[in-house]
Symmetry: C2
Subunit: 430 residues, 2 copies
């Protein structure tokens, strides 16, 4: 029997909002936002959405009006009382008051700034300009919205039973991955899949499947809203955005060379323990580690986010040894292009040699590959990056030239300054 | 746990269609349509929507775009295979093949004709012009759409729990009526509430409540779709529309005086038994009965649809007696402004003197009176009537001058021709 009140309620929404909370975002965004708010509040930045999978023609798939409605909805959001309480009162990595009262007062007043949207060549050009601490918070909602609108565009063509079977298959597929991971007794894996998720509800389902299937092996989620709702640890540290903007702001080559360490120096002042995680690949991992000051060797871990992950981990272990540190006391976090088999392999390769954990993204929260005809729900590579800071272009080199970005001349200059030579290309799927 | 496939399915509709089937209409519309298709297929008519409750400003409440979407959706409907099978194969009042193969062939091809919509003085002017058999089928969907869009306009302002409580109260209210009726052992009551229903789902709920609560006392529903879905008898005979158009087509006063009997003569050729029900009030019941030919006294019953219902029933009983008929073999159908108390009173007053049945409309399927602040869901009096036939205005006198319609001069002419004198005014609520 139809519950008429529920049905009326479900149908009276003007839109079905994809992002319904300012904390439906990655925890590291909030940590970085606080750091920027403290250290570089007046920097002007431009963030830009880039679809690296050109074969997915988003502007043909996704209606512009619907996209604007979703983006406008995000601009109407503000931090709720309960969300503020969670941020103010929660323990993160065993530490309380992670967010300062000054930051929280500012965040409670925040509304996200305007966006600029245009269609070009079957893609959307979506950019955000303004003060860094505000603009940076657009990244995750913008990505989540476009990912989910793409899902909806495909789902809208499907029948009632087709949908039921689609989700049954996707659930089965994920559960098989969970079963592969379950035997790894000392596994530590977290959900990093907010930005590329199939949909909010699907990410939430995946998180709960991991909770039930992996127990304490599942360490938490990068998504603050889901962490709050499901009583999980919010996971994350920092990202390429910080060194990229710091580098763009550098006045000369000497300052540029120092920029990646300046970022971590600021971070060092603010955080300790599990939040002291080095992300070394922005301008080439090898050069970064070779030139790193000794205090960085004292940090807790290294995140391997590009290039061959085993090579990256070996490099980290060698570096710690060369600086007189015990790798067994250190943590390697793998977070690039993971899936269950790769997690199993890396886990087996490095356990007993260093601490290992995994930040599992797209293939956790958006693996609908092979589930529709024409593979119309296959994951694709969408990013939203800082492309300019105070009028200067940003540059990323990465350990994989397929992930590099920035103007050619600047890329060459950065390569020279950071001593980056030949690099191995690795195909970017997600 | 959210069933994601179901939720995706529920949210992917562009609109939530109010009328989803050409047989979501009153059974008598289809019977009359077949009669018109056979006897007057080329008559041009204009139907017009009239809100008799001016205080309900429909054009302020209901968005024009949404109204057009709903009306356009109805124009996209055609008879489905299962609907056609039900019409062709079903038994109505014990008789098979109620609808001729010629009519069914035509109906299977039918799409409803265009509509004309304008706003004026806070009301919608909604008219339909064209061949009578096509245009006449707009009446019920047009009314159901406007009634439900008005409901939705009010519901959209309400919260989750407010809605739950609203429907809980409406259900309680209806169930109390059912309990009032249940002790009447030989009661015969049917649902006539399609045109004024709160919503499709609510009508469906009301019908099932009556099924469970009244058992065989509940004889069926005028709504063909619900009759089909719930395995009930489809109920109905004929309406004012037939004599109104026949009268408008009459060439002179003599033909006009004959018109109401011509209608029933055509009907007499097509139907027998329970479908031979006289609706005598179009131009005044007393005159109609006084001048009726003897073969009409042989018909099964009389429907009392305006004026004081007890007076109408007494008049019918007297008339049958005067024509040598036994009222105990005859049926009086009450169908005007009924509610539970009035049904109980009329039932008790006339049982044992004639057969009685009730066609319960608005107060069955739309009694939300007193359930919202400002009584914003109170039923109101919306009709959709034939106003012109082959360029001539139609006229209705009724037994209640508040239900009369037509140009003043024509009303005077009709009153003269049909010998209608002073009439008692009865307030029209629904």
């Amino acid at each position: 029997m139809v519950d008429i009140a529920t049905r009326v309620w479900n149908h009276k929404w003007k839109i079905d909002p994809i992002v319904r909370s300012l904390i439906d975002t990655d925890f590291y965004k909030l940590l970085m936002c606080q750091s920027v708010f403290r250290n570089k509040p007046d920097t002007n930045v431009t963030f830009s959405l880039i679809n690296r999978t050109k074969s997915v023609r988003l502007a043909d798939l996704v209606d512009e009006g619907e996209l604007r409605e979703q983006l406008d909805h995000v601009r109407s959001l503000s931090l709720s009382r309960g969300e503020s309480t969670w941020m103010r009162g929660n323990t993160f990595y065993g530490k309380r008051s992670m967010f300062s009262p000054e930051f929280m007062d500012w965040f409670e007043q925040l509304r996200l700034p305007p966006y600029h949207l245009e269609k070009r060549d079957g893609q959307y050009e979506l950019t955000f300009e303004g003060k860094w601490p505000e603009v940076m918070l657009w990244e995750i909602p913008a990505l989540a919205i476009l990912m989910e609108l793409r899902s909806r565009a495909v789902l809208t063509e499907m029948g009632r039973f087709e949908l039921q079977v689609l989700y049954a298959r996707a659930m089965t597929k994920l559960w098989e991955k969970v079963e592969k991971l379950r035997p790894l007794e000392d596994l530590r894996v977290a959900d990093f899949g907010t930005r590329r998720r199939h949909s909010f509800l699907w990410q939430d389902w995946c998180v709960r499947a991991m909770q039930e299937g992996l127990g304490t092996r599942f360490t938490g989620t990068s998504n603050c809203l889901i962490a709050k709702n499901r009583d999980l640890e919010a996971i994350g540290t920092n990202a390429h955005e910080l060194p990229m903007v710091y580098a763009a702001l550098a006045g000369d080559d000497a300052a540029l060379a120092r920029a990646p360490y300046d970022v971590l120096s600021d971070w060092h002042d603010e955080h300790d323990g599990n939040l002291r995680i080095i992300l070394p690949d922005t301008y080439g991992t090898q050069g970064f580690l070779d030139n790193a000051p000794d205090w960085l060797a004292g940090w807790t871990g290294i995140r391997v986010d590009s290039g061959d992950p085993a090579t990256g981990a070996e490099r980290a272990i060698e570096w710690w040894k060369s600086r007189g540190e015990d790798p067994m006391e250190k943590l390697v976090i793998f977070s690039d292009g993971l899936d269950a088999d790769k997690i199993v392999a890396l886990h087996n390769q490095f356990r007993g040699r260093t601490k290992v954990s995994f930040g599992w993204g797209t293939m956790l929260t958006n693996d609908f590959k092979g589930l529709t005809e024409g593979d119309t729900l296959a994951p694709f590579s969408l990013v939203c990056k800082a492309v300019e800071a105070n009028g200067q272009p940003t540059v990323k080199l990465s350990d994989n030239p397929n992930k590099a970005m920035g103007p050619d001349a600047e890329i060459e200059r950065y390569k020279r300054v950071f001593g980056v030579g030949a690099q191995e290309r690795v195909e970017v799927v997600v």
